[in-house]
Point group: C2
Chain length 134, copies 2
DNA sequence: CTAAATGCAAAGCATTTGCAAATAT
DNA sequence: ATATTTGCAAATGCTTTGCATTTAG
């Protein structure tokens, strides 16, 4: 499954070369911010406009193909929507890693204790990754 | 303990009337975004500048008196630094509530499974609060 | 063929900066 | 008395918009 053309169409978006490139880049990086994405897309489409990047990121996010992750003390990054997961940010190398955490128990606990119907949960851990650990 | 003058000084910040007002307002709201804060401070200091709000929020955040909470699909809010806690955002009334959640177990789990030294964790739950639940 | 997407330039917000005057300590 | 803070205006930066042209389906 690496057919971004179909993925885009399944989300009511035309599969333009710019969009396919965006998908390919995000898929490769896992997570990427707007500036870096623009820089990378330009390598392939010298004349791509930053406005096109924004328009596409917005359209793809609204159509639930991408999701935004807000990073503490950092710029937002975008990723391809996939099964629920959390994030870990290394404060030294700034790398972001997906992690699988059981948030279900927490969500249950909160739902009952606070009488709050939880729909989504965002968990971001910050610290130092193995590589950067001195 | 509601002596904001001392609190400010303890954080190497002069206790100006504008800052005392900011502290008072944030303390009252619990969480507030820049625009709303500006609006509220203006009620007391008609001529306060938005630049002053930004400068102070930045200084107070850097000096660990305030902390920023990034809200999914919303503007950042600021709160007075206190013991570790998480947040719950109602997608209907946009209200934000502090919640006490045991994230320690999760942090431990992740620290060992991923060999990652976790320093801080940010958890934001979104859903519908009791009042807004139809 | 038609609706949607692109690229450009301009517009619109958000945030920061520089500086003279005012203020906290 | 001095270093910091304030308020203003200008500058910078980020994101969106309008529109003519191009392109996907």
């Amino acid at each position: 499954m690496n057919n971004f053309t179909d993925t885009l169409r399944a989300h009511q978006l035309k599969a333009t070369p710019q969009r396919l490139t965006i998908m390919h880049i995000i898929n490769g990086y896992g997570h990427i911010n707007i500036d870096k994405l623009y820089e990378e897309v330009k390598k392939k489409f010298t004349s791509v406009s930053l406005a096109t990047i924004y328009k596409n990121i917005n359209a793809m996010t609204q159509n639930l193909l991408l999701s935004e992750v807000k990073i503490p003390n950092g710029k937002s990054v975008y990723e391809i929507v996939k099964e629920d997961h959390s994030h870990m940010v290394c404060t030294k190398c700034k790398n972001i890693v997906d992690i699988k955490v059981d948030t279900a128990s927490i969500v249950d606990e909160v739902s009952s204790s606070y009488n709050f119907q939880v729909d989504t949960s965002e968990l971001v851990l910050s610290g130092v990754c193995e590589k950067c650990h001195s």
